[in-house]
Amino acid sequence: MSATLLHLHTQPEVPLEAETLSPASIAGLSELGIEHLQVMHGNVKAKVGDFFKVTGKGTPDIHIEGDLAKVKMIGACMSEGRVIIEGNVGMHVGIGMSGGEILVKGDATDWVGPEMSGGRITVLGDAGHMVGSAFRGQSTGITGGEIFIHGSAKNEIGNSMRRGLIAIGGDAGDFTAVSMRAGTIIVMGKMGVRTGAGMVRGTVVCFEESKILPSFEYSCRYQPLFLRLYLIRLQEHGFEEKINDKHINGKYERYSGDAVELNRGEILLFSGQ
């Protein structure tokens, strides 16, 4: 079964909410049926065909071409299948996703994978703020799944996340893992300030030196065995240039915190072999 191809022929003037561009929404539809699916161009109802040329029937495998930086909510609530975006993508990609895979070959803007509970989102470029984070006013961020950003990401990565894995191949902004409930964030570059503020449980790993909040306390320098499993998995998912044997076999300084909360979170900083 060949993939369903969508090519952006008209750039939206304002953000386009395209939650219908998801395997479940287009499954079994004809080209015409897909072109007639509704999208929101700002606050105006529009059709997929107003912006995209569709080739092929609806399949679980969707390829989308063009600069989609203004196209939001691609892959919304998907539970299976694969979406490949051959360029940049807008906000809320993979919102509510529970399974399947999204691959973004360019950059992503803010809020990659909000309300995600399963599946995997891979961004080969950079990402904006709030990767895997809770929406404002919500108490819980992602509850499962994997978000792999090969470039850098901005502030509040994994805000209030409860489960899952977020890997950042480059640098992270400020407030990484703020209010984190559980889960794992691995940053292979540098982190900004105030990492883990208000963290309850969970793990933040960083390969570079980082300033630790005073409400975190040094525990020990050791080799966390579980981390090997994560790093080996990430190597198999395209991070082999960022993760090498020294990271897998190396030692990490463990800091426990945040003492203003339950104090069961941890920050692990790579400290050589």
Partner: protein
């Protein structure tokens, strides 16, 4: 009765009677091969026969670092019990007491199966509330804080129906020849993936029969093959030139691997000049599986 020979070795026209069991596979890793082996040796201690040990277990093979979950040297251990209800307790006890206590080790499930039992999910309580779980690629791991750092154990282990009690009996013109043949046979049989030989070095010096003249004994010495009882016990089928015999018990994840191990074992024993290869059975009424020696060789 058909007579079959491999070189000068006679293969008796009989069958090995084997039983249905439940199996699990544990992959133990450690910083060094030596520590992984130490944990495996401890874990498989006192696990020769379900008759008194309630479990049969042994090392299946060593696993190279590139094939283990954490890329450290590993050892694969197979453990079988008679019931699916008792295997979880054995896994918890043996991983908890023999693997977790061994420096630098971790324990992973090595058997994919729909039926699983909670192991790490129980052992985690050793962490006294400080344990941490991690879901990695769909597999839940437990990090248990210990004095050297952390012990990592998988939450669930797969179990599946298996075969226990496949066997060969090797009879020789001298004890030395019989043992040499048994050693060669066990070396050949261990090459088959999915089987293990639960007795010391795979060889049983004191094979047993079912029952005894004493009511408290469910098994007793296999007097038909005891050379010292030649003029006392019923040994009609034992040729005069047999001086000693050994049994090899083989358990496996399915009947095909048990058969293959037996086939290789027969050939290896024949190569080393054993006089007779036969097998133990109970008339075919107790076990679920019958492995006819001639069929295996054909």
């Amino acid at each position: 009765m058909k007579v079959m020979r491999i070189k000068k070795t006679e293969i008796t026209d009989t069958f090995a009677e084997a039983f249905g069991m439940w199996g699990a596979r544990v992959v133990i890793t450690a910083d060094t091969k030596q520590w992984a082996r130490a944990a495996a040796a401890s874990m498989t201690g006192f696990a020769t026969s379900v008759i008194r040990c309630k479990l049969e277990a042994a090392v299946e093979c060593e696993v190279p670092p590139e094939a283990t979950p954490d890329r450290r040297p590993g050892v694969s251990v197979l453990l079988f019990t008679m019931s699916s209800k008792t295997i979880a307790g054995q896994l918890i006890d043996r991983i908890g007491q023999c693997v977790m206590t061994c420096p630098t080790t971790a324990a992973y499930n090595g058997l994919e199966s729909e039926k699983t039992v909670s192991v790490g999910g129980k052992l985690r309580f050793f962490g006294d509330g400080y344990q941490i779980s991690k879901l990695i690629d769909g597999r839940r791991m437990w990090r248990i804080p210990i004095m050297e750092g952390e012990f990592l154990v998988e939450e669930s282990f797969g179990i599946r129906p298996a075969v226990g009690g496949g066997n060969l009996i090797l009879l020789g013109t001298s004890q030395r020849i019989a043992l040499r043949a048994a050693t060669a046979a066990t070396n050949a049989m261990r090459e088959v993936a999915g089987v293990f030989l639960p007795f010391p070095q795979g060889v049983v010096g004191s094979g047993s029969k079912v029952g005894s003249r004493y009511k408290s004994m469910i098994a007793s010495t296999n007097d038909r093959y005891c050379p010292t009882l030649r003029s006392i016990a019923d040994q009609k089928t034992l040729p005069a030139n047999v001086a000693a015999g050994y049994e090899i018990v083989v358990d496996g994840l399915n009947e095909y691997v048990v058969k293959e191990a037996m086939r290789r074992g027969i050939h290896a024993a024949a190569d080393k000049g054993t006089l007779i290869v036969t097998a133990g059975n109970y008339g075919g009424e107790l076990g679920k599986y019958k492995f006819y020696l001639h069929d295996i060789l054909n």
